[in-house]
């Protein structure tokens, strides 16, 4: 995500938006709405919340646009605003939960158990893939917010380590360590979950 060339119309829109021009900001929204809605939908589990959260992100970006200094691309900057907002949202949602496993209903727990124990029944490949997908989704949803952000950016958004480092304003080595920790915790969670009585 490099800096945009100076003749990019986006530069003009950003400068106008920084002076409070609503039309220019609406152009920026149109240009980046897919990216932001996509990110939000992958980071936030509740589909019903996606549009609302994406709108909140753009309102936040509008109020902070004067702090944008063209050091990164606008795409990187708006992604950073989006990820930080989703991270806060996930943390608030997590704080309101009673316990670590409490976000899964009994029905959900039974489904997860069935999927986790089903691995040896290697039958139809499509069915197996669907079950693996659901298992990954459930474990992602249970992961701590920082792990969820890391794994989503790497595994679902398929960003490189350097892209993640840029968007999160971290060193690449830090990203590697956090990614490794997130993967390990996800695997341990599955193992621990299986050991439950």
């Amino acid at each position: 995500m490099a800096n945009p060339p100076q003749d990019d119309p986006e530069v003009g829109w950003i400068k106008r938006a920084q002076r409070g021009d609503g039309d220019a900001f609406e152009e920026l929204v149109r240009r980046h709405e897919r990216r932001v809605v996509g990110l939000v939908s992958r980071l936030i589990a509740r589909r019903a919340d996606v549009e609302d959260v994406a709108q909140e992100i753009f309102v936040k970006a509008y109020l902070a646009i004067r702090t944008f200094n063209f050091e990164s691309s606008f795409g990187t900057w708006i992604s950073r605003v989006a990820i930080n907002h989703c991270y806060d949202h996930l943390r608030r949602a997590r704080a309101s939960r009673v316990a670590y496993y409490a976000d899964l209903s009994q029905e959900g727990e039974r489904a997860l158990a069935a999927q986790a124990d089903d691995r040896d029944r290697s039958g139809e490949r499509i069915e197996e893939r669907i079950m693996a997908r659901d298992l990954a989704e459930r474990l992602l949803r249970r992961a701590p917010p920082e792990d969820r952000v890391m794994l989503t950016l790497k595994e679902l958004e398929q960003m490189s380590v350097s892209e993640i480092a840029e968007v999160l304003n971290l060193r690449e080595s830090t990203v590697k360590v956090r990614l490794h920790r997130a993967r390990k915790r996800m695997l341990e969670d599955l193992k621990r979950w299986r050991r439950r009585p």
């Binding site: 609503g22 709405e33 549009e51 709108q55 398929q158 193992k191």
Partner: protein, 160 residues
């Protein structure tokens, strides 16, 4: 080799890139075989999730964002006005309390008299009329006019 060290390879590299000691450990360790199977399964699941296209923004998304920004700006302006009004109300209340305190603390005989202290000593009617009454020559002043009430505390209504 320790299982935890094997996991580090398992999570970060593909099976074909494992060094020989890791391969040898996994071949003889059931826990690491299970972990490897789990991780392969999770990666498969994550890849399936990545392949799903994310939802598109609904029609008119940018216009709704703009409306929300305008509402936020109006809300902010309203908040500023409400805050200003509330501040004025507080100042007025403080001033009223201050005046009340001053009225209670300053004694009634001081420079500020309460209506009650003014009422307690009305100027007697006789004194007012005496001041304007003509004095006739040869008449002792106190023969006609009795000023004894001056030294007494008068009753309300000014009766003698």
């Amino acid at each position: 080799m320790h299982c935890q060290a094997v996991w580090d390879f398992l999570l970060e590299t593909n099976q074909e890139d494992w060094p020989e000691p890791v391969r040898a450990h996994v071949a003889g360790c059931r826990a690491c075989q299970a972990a490897e199977r789990d991780w392969r399964r999770l990666r498969q699941g994550l890849a399936a999730l990545a392949a799903e296209p994310p939802p598109e923004p609904s029609l008119g998304f940018s216009a709704r964002v703009r409306r929300r920004i305008e509402e936020a700006a109006r809300g902010e302006a309203g908040e500023v006005l409400a805050e200003r009004a509330a501040r004025r109300l507080i100042y007025a209340a403080l001033l009223a309390v201050l005046i009340l305190v001053v009225c209670l603390v300053v004694p009634s005989s001081g420079p500020i008299r309460t209506p009650r202290s003014a009422e307690a000593y009305p100027l007697p009617q006789e004194m007012i009329s005496a001041q304007n009454y003509p004095v006739f020559p040869g008449q002792p002043l106190d023969a006609r006019y009795d000023f004894s009430f001056v030294s007494e505390r008068p009753e309300r209504g000014g009766g003698r």
